[in-house]
C-alpha cells in the first residue's frame, strides 16, 4: 500500500505496524495475540486487511509494565496488568489466552497457539462424522495442515469464570483452509484453568456445523 495514501494517524499493514514498533511482523502478531496490541480489521471478500491507530498503539505501550526492549521471543506470557479491577483482570487474561488461540488459527501456525494450552490439554468433537478425542497435539497438527484461515471471524458467545476455572464458548465463522474447506462454521467450548497465575486451556470441545 503506497505510503502517501496512508493517513498520518493510522498504520495500514502488519509491515507498517512492525516498523512503527521497531519489531518483526511475527513479534507484533504475537503481541496482538497474547498482549492485546490493538489491531483492527477491515473485512473484504477475499482477505481481511489490518490497520492500527498510532494513538492506540502508543497508549498500549504506556500501559505495558515491561519495556518492549526487554521482551524476547520466550517472554510471550508476561502479560501486562491492564486492569486493577479483579473481575476485569481475570476476564481480560482469559480473552488474551483465547486471542493466542485465534491468532494461531488465523495464521495456520500450531506453535503460535501452543502457549494458550495446558500441557495435558485434550480435545473432543466430531469432524465429518468421525469422533476425535485425544491430545491437544492433534489440534496443532490440524492447524499446521490446514494452513492460514485469514477470514475467521470469532465471537465470544460466553465467558463464565468461577474463581480458578472458566468456560468460554467461541463461535467462529468463515473457517477456510486445506482441511476446513471454505466458509465453514465451528462452535467451540473451551474449559480453562488458572494455573500458577496464568489461564490455560485444558479442554477444547468442538462442533463443526453442517454446510
Amino acid at each position: 500500500m503506497p505510503e502517501r495514501n496512508t493517513p498520518q494517524k493510522t498504520l495500514e499493514s502488519w509491515k507498517q505496524i512492525a516498523a512503527y514498533l521497531g519489531r518483526s511482523e511475527r513479534t507484533v502478531r504475537r503481541w496482538e495475540a497474547t498482549e492485546g496490541l490493538p489491531v483492527h480489521r477491515r473485512e473484504h471478500e477475499k482477505q481481511d486487511t489490518v490497520f492500527a491507530y498510532k494513538h492506540e498503539i502508543e497508549a498500549w505501550g504506556r500501559l505495558r509494565t515491561k519495556c518492549p526492549d526487554s521482551m524476547d521471543e520466550s517472554e510471550n506470557l508476561s502479560f501486562p496488568k491492564l486492569s486493577t479491577n479483579t473481575y476485569l483482570a481475570e476476564h481480560d487474561a482469559i480473552t488474551r489466552t483465547m486471542h493466542c488461540y485465534i491468532a494461531g488459527a488465523r495464521a495456520g501456525d500450531g506453535d503460535l497457539m501452543r502457549p494458550a494450552f495446558h500441557p495435558s490439554a485434550t480435545i473432543s468433537g466430531y469432524c465429518q462424522g468421525v469422533e476425535y478425542s485425544g491430545s491437544v497435539e492433534h489440534v496443532f497438527q490440524w492447524i499446521n495442515g490446514n494452513g492460514p484461515a485469514p477470514n475467521i471471524n470469532p465471537r465470544f458467545a460466553r465467558i463464565e469464570i468461577i474463581e480458578t476455572i472458566a468456560v468460554v464458548h467461541l463461535e467462529v465463522q468463515h473457517w477456510s483452509g486445506k482441511l476446513a474447506g471454505a466458509n465453514a462454521r465451528a462452535s467451540d467450548v473451551f474449559t480453562l484453568l488458572k494455573c500458577e497465575g496464568e489461564w490455560k486451556i485444558t479442554h477444547k470441545l468442538f462442533h463443526w456445523h453442517d454446510r
Binding site: 468461577i162 480458578t164 476455572i165 462452535s187 467450548v189
Partner: protein
C-alpha cells in the same frame, strides 16, 4: 432442533449427570463410570495442589465415602448440537476427605456419542481453600 428433540437431548444430559450425583452421594465411583467418556479428563485445584485425571476423581469419591446431604443444583445447560456444557453447584459436601458443609462448583462438558451423552471433562472449583481434597481423613 424441534422442541421435542431439545427436551430429549436435555433429559439425556441430565440422566448422565444424575449418575455422577448418585455416585457422589453414595461414595461409590462405580455408579458414575458409565457417565464418563473413556477419554474424559478431570481438572481443578484442591488447595494448592492440581488434581487431574478421572482416576483421581474415582479414587477420591471412594475414599470420601457417603455424602448423603449433597444439594446439587443445575445452573445452566447449553446444548450445541453434538456438544454441551453444564454448570453444577453442589452444596453440603461431606465425607472422610471433604469434611463437612463445603461447596463445589463444577463445569461439565459433554459429547454426544452413539451410546448417549458422555462427560468428556469435569473441571471443578472447591470453595474451601483451607481443606485439601488430598488431606487425610479427619479424625
Amino acid at each position: 432442533m424441534t422442541n421435542t428433540e431439545y427436551q430429549n437431548e436435555y433429559d439425556g444430559i441430565l440422566k448422565t449427570l444424575q449418575l455422577y450425583i448418585d455416585g457422589s452421594r453414595q461414595g461409590k465411583s462405580e455408579l458414575m463410570y458409565t457417565a464418563f467418556h473413556p477419554d474424559a479428563s478431570f481438572f481443578g485445584y484442591a488447595g494448592e495442589q492440581l488434581a487431574s485425571g478421572t482416576q483421581f476423581l474415582f479414587d477420591w469419591i471412594d475414599k470420601n465415602g457417603p455424602a448423603p446431604n449433597i444439594q446439587p443444583r443445575v445452573v445452566s445447560v447449553d446444548i450445541l448440537e453434538s456438544i454441551a456444557v453444564v454448570r453444577l453447584e453442589v452444596a453440603g459436601w461431606s465425607g472422610n476427605l471433604a469434611g463437612s458443609g463445603v461447596r463445589m462448583s463444577d463445569l461439565f462438558t459433554f459429547l454426544k456419542t452413539p451410546s448417549g451423552w458422555k462427560i468428556i471433562q469435569k473441571a471443578f472449583h472447591w470453595h474451601a481453600a483451607e481443606r485439601s481434597l488430598v488431606a487425610r481423613p479427619l479424625v
